[in-house]
Symmetry: C3
Subunit: 353 residues, 3 copies
Amino acid sequence: MERSLKSLAHEVGGRVRGDGSVMVSGVAGIEEAKKGDITFVSNEKFLPKLKETRASAAIVSQEVTDVSLPLLIIPNPHLAMAKILTLFTQRPSVSGGVSDMAWISPSARLEEEVTIYPLVYIGDEAQIASRATIYPGVFIGSQAKIGEDTILYPNVTIYPRCIVGKRVIVHAGTVIGADGFGFVKDGKVNVKIPQVGIVEIEDDVEIGANSCLDRATFGKTLIEKGVKVDNLVQIAHNVRIGENSIIVGQVGISGSTTVGRNVTLAGQVGLVDHIEIGDNVIVGAQSGVNRDIPPNQVVLGTPPLPHWQFLRVTSAWSKLPEMKKELNILLKRVEELEKRAGPVKKASKRRVR
Amino acid sequence: MERSLKSLAHEVGGRVRGDGSVMVSGVAGIEEAKKGDITFVSNEKFLPKLKETRASAAIVSQEVTDVSLPLLIIPNPHLAMAKILTLFTQRPSVSGGVSDMAWISPSARLEEEVTIYPLVYIGDEAQIASRATIYPGVFIGSQAKIGEDTILYPNVTIYPRCIVGKRVIVHAGTVIGADGFGFVKDGKVNVKIPQVGIVEIEDDVEIGANSCLDRATFGKTLIEKGVKVDNLVQIAHNVRIGENSIIVGQVGISGSTTVGRNVTLAGQVGLVDHIEIGDNVIVGAQSGVNRDIPPNQVVLGTPPLPHWQFLRVTSAWSKLPEMKKELNILLKRVEELEKRAGPVKKASKRRVR
Amino acid sequence: MERSLKSLAHEVGGRVRGDGSVMVSGVAGIEEAKKGDITFVSNEKFLPKLKETRASAAIVSQEVTDVSLPLLIIPNPHLAMAKILTLFTQRPSVSGGVSDMAWISPSARLEEEVTIYPLVYIGDEAQIASRATIYPGVFIGSQAKIGEDTILYPNVTIYPRCIVGKRVIVHAGTVIGADGFGFVKDGKVNVKIPQVGIVEIEDDVEIGANSCLDRATFGKTLIEKGVKVDNLVQIAHNVRIGENSIIVGQVGISGSTTVGRNVTLAGQVGLVDHIEIGDNVIVGAQSGVNRDIPPNQVVLGTPPLPHWQFLRVTSAWSKLPEMKKELNILLKRVEELEKRAGPVKKASKRRVR
């Protein structure tokens, strides 16, 4: 596919400077780009590289005076790049049909234009909506529902009765609906609490590879629309994640915890169970969160501190040994001063808090 | 299935207050419960909600005076709930038979009433004991043994020669018996140490989804009976985990480390190699343990501290910048005092520890 | 297979003390070894155990005077053990052929002597080189390339166009080439950035179970030759890992970060995006690295400190509450001294840094 720069600007917004009739057929990084590609500069410091790129056009956030390259000027070049790249990479949905090397229950319901690869298993009364694509090695349990245009990559497991919305993408190896980790001690023996709830994933969610979303004990584990989950993430039973939140790789969220809308949990964060993370919160990488976080905060650390405080604390942290040393020296100097001042008549009361 | 409250009390212990003939057919949380359900209150503070529930009966730990609902009174309502829920959810084992879309070695031995789903692979001389259930996508390597009533969920991989006990549950995507991570440097090149041992999993173990239990270099990696392992857990070669221990999500246990009986490792804990964790130890979430922990302790942090000390340390931790400031101010005040006191005749020796 | 001690010494280097004609047919730990085994002692403190072993010979790093066992003396017994064990465990490559229960695209190219197990999926124009072994449940996407003698264990997923080198081992459940985690905010909505790059894995790499290596946004995610990656590791888009580096279990490496050659990242380490880790760096377990690390350093902690400093800081860390207490006591004593010294004529300026 080939598009003129002008028509791309029309599609994603922004204005053209220079030759709008230049034809573009791909998107590439500034160094790898070749003739026919459009490239992009999100960070001002890379603007000088525009002089050397072989790209046919560039997406930038501001006028660049000393460059002859045709430009698409738009406030958010990164977003424009994503949209243009999507234009060039999305293919018209063509059903690959239903493989006769898949095992499909006679009671399963497949809507029109689904693609079912070989080596897929679809259980009793499961429903696969229009244009869904189910890759090899996927297991879909009985009574599970897969929404329209959803893609399940290879070796994904969907346990019985779980619900996956429309336009959802689930990457390879991810497990949706395994039993929540619920046991009660009977003396020393761990007695299993049957997990009779489900997982529900709303529309436009994307989930990375080898992640785990456990079914609820009762009720449901809920991933609201537009949430993006990375690889190797653990989401325990009865968790709820609000719209458009971002859960980065290797995060672990314990049972019954609620994450608000538009939240970002950075890599390797852990949340204890039964807490509430407010809307728009950002939790820094590797933090261990053991309490509710009110909305609109940036927190970091274990236990979590406001961002500015965390930076001050960790800065002081590396000076700890010196502080300890100084404290000891000071003690000696005070002892010396006290000796020279002679005995106190009345003992001062030492307050220790 | 329907059971009278009285018969449930007889089954799990406890006594009935009110109408023991009320019929119960399910278990549900206090807010979701409907007519026919029994609900439960583990935490006193939710007792007032009993007035509003639509449940037909409730499991409680103490007499509740102002509620007309029939009650099952028992010291551990949570445990009673688990047992009753198990009664209502367990189905009589009915073999689904052996699918002709599975690949089964002629030398494999399948006992009676096994269920082998389509798309399963069972290698040479593998043994599958009575009433085991093997879901689609499972790989069972040659000479591996799967015990009675064990369930392997979809896409589980059991490497050759590994042993899985009776009534074991392994959730989807978990890998048992991959090579331990053992290499020796030969100059800069990493030379692989062949991993010729196995993994042995004893009876009544449950393992979550996408976890990894590596085979031993020599001998075996051993998971003793009743252990419960959550999702995305890494258990390295030659690790041994004692009876009834609980290993929560995303924990990593390094090679040759021994975990005692009845231990709890909370989420994202890491243990270094070749250490020993005593019986009944609890290690708090995200802790990094680099030394032996004697039995019956609660530890937390990296490196781990006794629980009470960890709380004091992290409380002081957030005050570090203020401490640093105070220390500097104090230094100035001492300097001022020294100036006013005049020169010291004999220099005091400053002790620095 | 049986080999004389003398011939083993000839094969791996080192010299024999005692009867070089003793026959050896296996390798075992010092306690498990039986007649016919060779055992090894890497750590001096286990030398006394040589008196009790039933092994027929032992690999040691030094002369042992009071033992009658035939010895192979060599500077690195661990390495010699790895090499001898490899001798005894490697089998001549025998092709298992191509199962007719695999699904193989007519346009895929399979070279001679490959082993394709049942339940494998091989996509259009994929290439499988000589003597590669593809276990059940593996998915190989279109145009992916698998090198000579490479082994893909069960349920591995290779996304389209990814390249896997020669003699590579990928353990069960690992996902290579899933989409990198790239989104741009459009208001509150997360817009996906299509990930059009690939993953390239060079020769002699080994990757553990259930790990994830994401494809690049543009260009490639690159794992250079000889790298060893453990289980449950997350390697994000556009990461590059240099030759012979070791990435231990549950490490997470964020997008576009570069790891040098011969680096060790210990368990559960996290690296932020767009940083550079120099050659020969060692990062201690659970560290959170948020900045470039120059070559040849050992760092530890979050944020990372040089190893010696980390030990001092964490040692002081556990004394924090006592320091806080001492600081308060000292304050009182200084106040007392100031009271006794009377008013200061000119206020000293308190410096706060």
